[in-house]
Symmetry: C2
Subunit: 291 residues, 2 copies
Amino acid sequence: MAAGKRKVVGFALGDGGRVFTLPPVNSAPLGFFDSGVGGLTVVRAVQELLPAENILYLGDTARLPYGSKSPETIRQFADEDVRFLIARGVKAIVVACNTATAHALPSLHEKYRIPILGVIEPGVEAALACPNAVRIGIIATRGTIRSHAYQHALALRKTGLMIHGQATPLLVPLIEENWIDHPATRQVLKTYLDPLVEKGIDTLMLACTHYPLLIPVLQQLLPAEIRLVDSATTCAEHLKKELTRLDLLEPTDRDGALELHLTDLSEEFESLARQFLKKSPGRIHRAVLGI
Amino acid sequence: MAAGKRKVVGFALGDGGRVFTLPPVNSAPLGFFDSGVGGLTVVRAVQELLPAENILYLGDTARLPYGSKSPETIRQFADEDVRFLIARGVKAIVVACNTATAHALPSLHEKYRIPILGVIEPGVEAALACPNAVRIGIIATRGTIRSHAYQHALALRKTGLMIHGQATPLLVPLIEENWIDHPATRQVLKTYLDPLVEKGIDTLMLACTHYPLLIPVLQQLLPAEIRLVDSATTCAEHLKKELTRLDLLEPTDRDGALELHLTDLSEEFESLARQFLKKSPGRIHRAVLGI
């Protein structure tokens, strides 16, 4: 279907037997979820590439972070996040969190029929798009590294890779403290990255949606020949392809709306949201899960 | 009642109308809760002072940390934690978490009749026990500092104090990464503490149950004349006084048992528990709240 046309998908019975029209699916919002506001780096990349899309974002700030928690708990939280978004009529879901993608995406695919995209496959595709990528470093939360989801996805697509995963649990707290230019952050980064540099990596995957904010510091600290691949822009490109393939692109040219729901509200989350989004997040709603 | 005697408190009807004896209240466990395993520093201090007490500890590891979250959310979580402990028959509850004490203790006192002790009053008492304490620094999570609970408690007890609160949100992640002796930790500590030292503090309150692990580094970094007051030992002493006053001390001389319940289990939490407790935590149970 060409963009610009609308399709009416169906009718539903409302309370009291009244019939009302469902909105065309293509104009339904895209649903995003993350443990917190880090996934807004993905939203920003999507807004740049697909400005007409309406976006409904859920950040589970009451229970963040996911990165240090067990696979079982992450799967339970991700399931509740997805149900929240489906109940609000999203047309597709982006798991804008590497840890949740690593541990929960397969079980979400089994359980739900709505298109659900993660951040790992797009990152892996982008990393391997360069034929010279052979020695690949991955920095991520402990949960993502331990899941081996990146390591498996890389090894499945290309043989002969040297893959080095490095858990970097202090980076999210440092970013959330807004200490990006602080000497302590450089020291932490050096401790984490020196072993990868010594192993001669040619590609560094930033496998956490918070990490794009570190790109300027990483560019200063790392040898220029190491290519950086982040979750945000690669995921946005993958999403565009998928929405096109599924004929789910928003048909209008208007700027889409962003609706932000957080399970815990605070000034810090609002200020972090602004930082990740590089603009005002607008009014933030308090989300209650499991209802 | 003298220690050594048991009192039988009552009878209850079980399923099928059979009558069974309730255990004497004094032998019931003490309940502790914290957002994670940091509160085990308080447990360790209590075990040293009151070795016969049985202890039931709940760590809400699935939703940790509390320190960065809103007062409303912390009150809700603390309420669920207390209900979990009461349902398991504890005789008194210790809120082994500064953030939860700061935001939730007053509402818990209003709602429940069981004795509930926090970590703030004991710390404040201990800080002011020294008559020379005039310029007092407080380091804590953002939530604890913002609550002004320490600042109010200090000002209520003594006039003319100079009180300086400093939020130190990176210390918990650094301790949990076990980077206590890492140069980055020293750099972070210097950034946080230099302004307090410049203000001439004579006392530094470690207002987070994780922080006792930093005492050796703090002793190296700070001028020797600054007195350190931590939450763990002061709380244990206060608890002993309260249990004596309420005639609730465990009457036997046997070593008490420790039962650990966490809302999320992982190898890291187990290894951290060992670190905070300075011994094996034994078998850890998975807790499900709200049931």
